[in-house]
Amino acid sequence: MNVVVCVKQIPDPAAPSALDPVTHNLDRSGKLILDDSDSYGVEMGLQLASGDGDEVILVSMAPGGETSGLRTALAMGAARAILVSDDALSGTDSLGTAKVLAAAISRAEPDLVLTATESTDGYTGTIPAQIAELLGLPSVTFAKKIAVDGSTVRVERQTEAGFDEVECPLPAVVSVTAGVVEPRYPSFKGIMAAKSKPVDVLAVADLGIEGGQVGSAGARQEVTDVADAEAREGGEIVVDEGNGAERILAFLEELKVI
C-alpha cells in the first residue's frame, strides 16, 4: 500500500510570527520546520504502511527548496518525498495550494492520502476536501481513529455530539486530528538514514499547472489591512493565601452568577 502524507513546513510557532507589512503574507523567510499537526499523519501512515512493499511518500509545498521539515518526517521513517518549490508560488491561497498538492500526489499513485485537519499557520482547513475533489476521491475529515481493512478504510470521525463510524473505499483522502496516534521521535539511526533518502524537487511547470492558477494572482483575494485588536485588559491578580476561593466567590456574587 502506498500512503501519501501531506506535510506542511512552517515557521516555528514558538517564535513570534508576523505578516509582511507590505504583502500581508506570513513571513516564511526563516528556517521552516515540520508542522507538528502533520507528525500525526506521518505516524499514522507509517503504522498503516508497514508491510513489505508498502511505502510512505511525503508531499510538501514550501518556498526556497526547504527540506528541514521533510527530513524530520523522513527520519521518522517515510521512504521518500516530493517537494514543490517555486518562486511563482509566493502568496498562493488554499485552492491554489490544493491544485499543486493534488498534482504532486497523483504522481505517487497513492491508495490513501493523509493530511492534518488544519495547519498550524494558515488553518483554513479546506485543503483536505479540495484535494479530494481535485483527485476525484471520497474523503473523511476529522479522523480520530483509522484502520485499513483490505480496500476499505474505517474511520472514527469526530462530530459535535461524539463520533461517527465511517467506512470508505480506497483510494481516499483522510484528515487526521492530533491525538489519532502518538508520533514517534526520530531515532539517531533514522536521522542519519534520512539524509540520503530521495527528495524529488519539482517546479510548478513540471506539474502542468498554469502560472495564473497559483501565486498572489491565482489567489483572487487580498488582505487589505492588519491592525492591533482591542486588547482585553487584565484585571486583579491575587496570590492565594487560603483566601483564593473566597475571592472567586465574592466575584461570582458581584456578577450575580450565584
Binding site: 488554499s94 485537519t117 488553518y123 476536501a129 480520530k144 492588519v226 466575584f251 452568577v257
Partner: protein, 320 residues
Amino acid sequence: MALDNVWVLAETGEAGPTSLSLELLTKARTIGASVTAVAWGGGAAEHAAVLGEYGATKVYDLGDTGEALPGAPVASAMAALVEGGERPDAILFPASYDGRDVAGRLSVKLDRPVITNIVGMSDDGLSTQHSLFGGSQTATARFTGEGPFLYVVRAKSFAAESAGGGPAEVVQTAAPEAGPTAAARVVSRHVEERSGPKLDEAGVVVSGGRGLGSADSYELIEQLAKLLNGAPGASRAIVDAGWVPYARQVGQTGKTVKPNLYLACGISGATQHLVGMKGSKHIVAVNKDQDAPIFSVADLGIVGDVHKVLPALIEALKSR
C-alpha cells in the same frame, strides 16, 4: 447592500437549524437583498418556518443524503444549482465539520477561492475580518475576482436575531449523483453523554487544563460546573491526553464560547486557547504560575494551586 443574492448553508439537526446557521442567516440579511437557505437531510421542509423567521425567503431542500458524509453530495447539488443558472453573489458556510467539507469541494467545482475563519464582516458583505495571533491582531480581507464569494464563518461571530419573517418557500432540488466522491458512509453514530447546558450555549463555562495533573482531577471541574449550572470545558492538552472527549475542547480547533463567566483552571492561556474564549464577558483564572498568559485576559486571577482553590470553592458553594 452591495449583494443581491446571498445563500446560507444551513445545517439542521433534530432540534432544528444549528445556532451557527441562524447566526449566518442573521448576518446574511444585512449583506444581501435576498437570502436563500440551502439545507439537506430530509427534514429541510420542517425547518422552513425557523429558517424563514431568521431571514430566508427561500429554502433549497437538497433532500436526504442518506448515510453518505454530506461534503461531496451537498457540494455537487449546490454546483448543479449554479450550473443550472442560479446566481448567488455570496455563500456563507458554517465553520463546522461538514460546512468546511462542502466549502472546500464547492470551491473546486466552481473554481472559486474561499475566505475562511471569518469573525466579522462589513455590512456590504465585501470585506471580512479575521482574528490573528491569538486575537492580538485583526486582519481585513476581500475577494478581488468574480463571485460567487465563498465565505466560511466561525461560530459566535454574529448574534442570531429573529427577523419575524414568515416561513420560507421550499424548493425541492434533485440531488445529483455525486459518484465515487460520495462513497464515504456513516455506519454508526456514537453520542457522548452530557448533562447540563451545551458548552457553546452555557452562561458559565468551567474549563480545566493540564494543571489539573491527572484525569481524575477533572471531577473538580465537573462538580464546579454543575454547582454553577454551567458546562465543563477543556484545553486541547487534556483532550489530546485522552482525559476528556473532544466535544469539550475550547479554542481554535475546538469550540468558541462567549459565556457570561469563563473560569479557567490550570490552563496556561496559549494563543490557540485564548481565541476560543477571549470573547467571554468575564474571565476568572486559577494558575500557580504568576506569569501564565491566561492572567493577561482575566478579570480576576488567582495565583494558586487548583487542588487547594477548587475544593475550597466547591465546599463554599455547597454550603450556601
